[in-house]
Symmetry: D2
């Protein structure tokens, strides 16, 4: 960590600062400049709070040299983590995982959809039973009934099921029935919920928040991992920008960055990112070419009758075609796809 | 609501669409253009889901004419709402409310801080007992002990207390001890929590999310109000932009906008918005001049020893000066300040 | 265009508004709602100024149904435009164009670089002679000397040359010597310069502004086209967001969107978008998979000695590998690459 | 400047880096860490290009400690700069300057508007003769005729005139007739134009770009100052964010920041920032309370007939009321207003 102090900071204060950091077990080097003095701290600086240091009125700036995450950090864990979702492995050199299914579970027709997405090449089934909706007047999901419908679909097809957990009171239900527990974008910094899923046994799909930096996202993974659950898959689903032609802006550069900074798998959600089925194929192929470990795509047999997010759902035949093309791209970048 | 359909949409499809909306009790007018057809829907369009309508491949665009909120909407509730926080009234033509206190409660010294901020002009005391921190390794708050320290401070000074609720399992504690229940920026779209505080009896301070539009923020107020708790105060605390010299960008234009669109009070948090005590005075005075109903400011007797957010905390004497100047500004815009 | 008026607008004002639009040759339909009235205008609404209409205090909102661009609009020009750059064709079903070269021309070594990028598969050479630099103290480019060095490189290799034009006073120089005239991101809304290149005979490479919407970008193409020069290639180079791990956020969703909304070719600049050579391969492959018509990549034999932007430049051997992989991806999506 | 190198960088490379910086006259201190090594450079680091240093594959990160600007930097010029605009002084402890007038000059009625804004308290007249419009089909300004109309208004009222310069070919015209030369937001990084106005004798009003950081904005002022023209006034006019209820987001925190980092005056444009006359009063009062040195406000006798930007223009009587209230706020913060 690098700390710069303002012009005119008294010598006694500089010495006091040095002693304070040394008392925390850090080694301190001071660089005297003409207009500034700079301290370099060596040791475990994750224990320091930048904002507290900045509170000193003589301090001008504080900059981290090393990343604030440990368990997720590639520096301390060189090999790729491979996450096992009820037998389907994600990450490393495992085949690229395609997850398909509707935005919301709408009843037992999920069983048919599961068969369809499986035939098209999906290795997991997605479906929301608890839905985060901007409006309190919009459909809020079927709840437990929806989870039970997903379980029926799993029984019929063998596909592991992925669903979003919105609150701690459903943790037992998810621990029992769901194979991959999704934390949605709006809850990426619901730290209480992160800690709770950090104590679960099931792997977690952590979506990036709408306006969160990659560093904050990895820190949220760190929250889960620090509680003991190291089975975290990251999922990019678009960030909020000024652009209006798409719902969000898909940030595909996260793929090489997540792989450089962490050892965790990264998958892409082109459906929520673009909000428009017309752009899903293009972004899916791009994601695989970029090196993603998986795709999560919304599929509905009748998008215009979907109870939510129809505008971004692919029809099954279109989904099958996307998977077929994505598989060919995967081969070019040296990966398999189931 | 206005729906435009693509060039070449078959006449039968246009008729089907019209019948579908009419069956929902809406009145439909069609405007035939050269390259597009446009439908205007009149009636209660809050029941419609824009994304579902967009799923129709013939639909080009969907635009709302009326706002999607009802209970928070000024259109249906012309008079300003005045929210009573344990006897301190906020909003309308009531005096501008100043809330002061530390970021985190750090023990019983909160009683002294409470006396100090009261003397300086504050009418409520803030202090975090449950802290949302980006890093799992950072101080997470004193928890229930912190709440009890706040209660002691209230007993000593009579100041109502404001604290952040992060999870549903503490609702009973907050219902019993806290006067104004804060929902933090990171939980603004934690819809499960919003519904839960919507069933509380205590008033709610709803902070704007880091990257949420004003419309989404009002919709989150609507979540709380739709469960029965109409005592919501909105609080702007800066939004995320590309600018790096401040932690967030304080959006003061929310003051006239919130007053135009809703009947709820709006207060400003210059401390979190700027992340730097040097800019707090300037932004506080600006907020009052803009017409805000209150300020929430971080105050700490020794910012460089604060357990969190010291960089943005004012020392008590500085806080007193800000309040003194803000009071003079209040008079110019026709408001009192306690 | 759809115009909504506020509750309580007098009938006489509504009639006046209708007459005003009818006098401009537009057909007006009025939809009477309970809280709003809405007008639909049919005809050539590109002549209307939304902001002027909003100035009427009775007007609540103004929304365009049709796009504000004509010449660039796919609606009025169904076939893909193919742009001829000194014999190299870009767009439509032509091979994907790879443009390589250094950020800045640094002297006659550009001739060697040109040979290298040609051998690696590039079909055009890029190099900046006039450089837009944030700091007035940074290297500003070799100017005319740099252009002459590019000409030597073209003579040696036959590669057409691409270079950025920053000011009108160099138009004659570019008309004579440069094959593809680049308008940089910072000048995307330098409307005076856009009009000037609109009167040139050479094709134009129009980069998207750092914070410009796709619609504004197409409108800037429209500026050039409206002056007579319809040979415009669009280039995405990343937009400004809150993310800090990359210099900009590459928005690959522009590829399907630009192809839907316009008939112009779209190419991608992964070097400026990411600002980091480590991420260039990944983003290049993603761009081709997404359907881009070309790539423009920074290449330098010794990035650490480059006079500008070394951090984002590929070494020649790495560039050759990126082209080789991109070619394989191109085949999967049904395109050739030279 | 602080440079960190990657784990595993060879000792020989570390030594080479040290010698390279020392050869540029910088003093180098190395801090050896466990996972990183860090170099601190002392001396004139404005000569270094961060991106070039980052090109070294062993370099992990580069961070500036000192600001990259010199002439604009408060550190080297403690006193506030006061800019003289044809006798009207702006900045320091001078009275707060109010600039009023229409978006576009529409003919000789500008003389009447000038009288009106003068009576209401304005000390300068604004009016656009060259207009940067998103659409090539929108009104582009009266050009030289508009400048001559402004001159007539100045003759009639004595008010100095402010107008936007869009291209170098009009520099002689502006040098002769205009008192304060505005560089618009879209040209903030048109470096060629900045250098050209840097050679003018007239003071410059430099608007912040839509998506430019405060640092880039100050660097653009530095461009002008480095050519010899040190008479620069900065103007904030809103930045681009995700918010949709305003045209841009007014960033008032620039007021204390610009005053901390530079010695230049800062004025605020609430009209362009909000895009809505309803919010102009609130934001004007906030700007003065925040400590701004001036306001630039759009005024039109008939906003709904204005040729551009009517939606954000105040009627004269409303403008007079804003000035009256702003003057009272100014007194509270210890400033006069003419």
């Amino acid at each position: 960590m690098i700390i710069s102090t303002k012009k005119g900071t008294p010598a006694a204060e500089l010495e006091r600062i040095i002693r304070e950091f040394e008392s925390k077990g850090l080694s301190v080097t001071m660089i005297r400049g003409t207009d500034y003095n700079v301290f370099g701290l060596v040791g475990d600086t994750t224990i320091l709070d930048e904002k507290q240091i900045r509170a000193n009125p003589y301090v001008d700036n504080v900059q981290r040299v090393s990343e604030p995450y440990k368990k997720a950090n590639r520096l301390f864990h060189e090999a790729d983590s491979v996450i096992d979702v009820a037998g389907v492995k994600v990450g490393g050199s495992e085949p690229i995982a395609v997850i398909g299914g509707p935005c919301s579970v709408e009843g037992e027709n999920i069983v048919d959809i599961a068969r369809t997405v499986k035939n098209a090449g999906a290795c997991m089934l997605r479906g929301g039973a608890y839905k985060p909706r901007t409006s309190p007047y919009a459909f809020q999901g079927l709840g437990t009934e929806g989870i039970m419908d997903l379980v029926k679909a799993r029984e019929a097809t063998g596909l592991p099921i992925v669903s979003e957990l919105m609150s701690e009171d459903k943790i037992d239900e998810f621990e029992e029935y769901v194979d991959l527990v999704q934390i949605g974008a709006r809850n990426m910094q619901n730290f209480h919920l992160l800690k709770a899923v950090g104590r679960m046994k099931k792997p977690v799909l952590l979506k990036r928040g709408l306006a969160n930096t990659i560093e904050e996202w990895i820190m949220s993974a760190e929250y889960i991992m620090s509680e003991g659950n190291e089975n975290v898959i990251l999922c990019e689903r678009g960030i909020r920008t000024f652009e209006k032609y798409t719902r969000n802006t898909l940030d595909l550069s996260v793929v090489p960055i997540v792989k450089e900074k962490t050892h965790l798998p990264i998958i892409i959600d082109p459906s929520h990112a673009t909000g428009n089925w017309r752009y899903v194929e293009s972004m899916s192929l791009a994601a695989v070419a970029a090196g993603a470990d998986g795709l999560i795509i919304e599929v509905h047999p009748c998008p215009e009758c979907a109870w939510s997010d129809g505008a971004q759902s692919l029809k099954p035949e279109r989904f099958a075609e996307v998977v077929r093309k994505a598989r060919a791209i995967a081969h070019v970048v040296g990966r398999e796809m189931r």
